[in-house]
């Protein structure tokens, strides 16, 4: 029931966000229509960071309390975070092709983002290689905590090093009012989508545990 309400809310917010991205907001004077990728690319990145922050928090809680629920929450959030990271890397690459003339460049922001993707991919590789539940959760929690260190590096990459990536236009008044509102609505829509996917993933994980418990009973 809760999932259905969330689904309806997310769908409505997404429709509003799409309307704003394609109809409401004016095109950027410098880069033209391609700048409209920004309204989904930025929320994807920010919500991926939020997802990994949840992984970080739940991993700490797991190592402290050793409760299974913390591992379920951390791994569910990591999976959604990995999907969002994949999508923001791909959309960034599609934006770069017409604007920079290349699909990819080893720029500090792009490279640190790719490292983030590799870290959380490793998180799942580690999980798939360890069969003992407690050990798997412990190792994954350590990777989940260590991996989070990369996020401040990504955030500061555009100010610490010389980079091709656009600067912090959002906080430096580089956007007109319509652009700011479109970005805010898109961020709200993607936050709702994250909550929806995360909740759904947690439900599926709980089913996996129920199935394993029933299998153990049958033996």
């Amino acid at each position: 029931m809760k999932i259905r309400v969330l689904l309806g809310l997310t769908a409505a917010l997404m429709v509003i966000a799409l309307y704003m991205v394609f109809i409401f907001v004016p095109s950027d004077a410098e880069t033209g229509v391609i700048q409209r990728i920004f309204y989904f690319h930025v929320p994807l990145a920010w919500i991926a960071f939020l997802a990994f922050f949840v992984v970080f928090g739940c991993s700490i809680m797991y190592l402290w309390k050793r409760g299974r629920k913390w591992d379920i929450l951390a791994s569910s959030s990591a999976e959604v975070g990995l999907v969002f990271t994949t999508l923001f890397l791909l959309t960034g690459s599609i934006w770069a092709r017409p604007v920079w003339g290349v699909w990819w460049t080893w720029d500090s922001r792009l490279t640190s983002s790719l490292i983030l993707w590799i870290i959380y991919l490793a998180y799942f590789i580690i999980r798939s290689y360890i069969s003992e539940e407690g050990r798997r959760a412990r190792f994954a929690a350590i990777v989940g905590i260590m991996g989070f260190i990369d996020i401040p590096i990504i955030a500061m990459a555009i100010t610490l090093w010389r980079t091709q990536h656009p600067g912090p236009v959002i906080f430096e008044g580089g956007l007109v009012t319509e652009m700011i509102w479109t970005l805010i609505v898109a961020i709200i829509a993607f936050t709702a989508l994250y909550i929806l996917l995360f909740s759904y993933r947690v439900l599926v994980k709980q089913d996996e545990h129920e199935l394993n418990a029933l299998k153990a009973l049958r033996r």
Binding site: T31, G32, V33, I34, R36, I37, F40, H41, L44, V83, T86, L87, L90, T91, I94, W95, R97, P98, L193, L197, Y200, R201, L203, V204, D207, E208, E210, L211, L214, K215, L217, R218
Partner: protein
Amino acid sequence: MDNLGYLFAAYTVIWVGLFTYILVLAQKQRQLRRDIDWLKEMLKKADQLP
């Protein structure tokens, strides 16, 4: 600048990626529910045996 093709590609990637993930999750949950129901039925039958 006319880059509509790239814009279309970016939004297609996002929606295809998200819908694929949701479909995979939904399929996985359906399969899990089926297995859980089947196992519960088996355990109930085993309990009823003399």
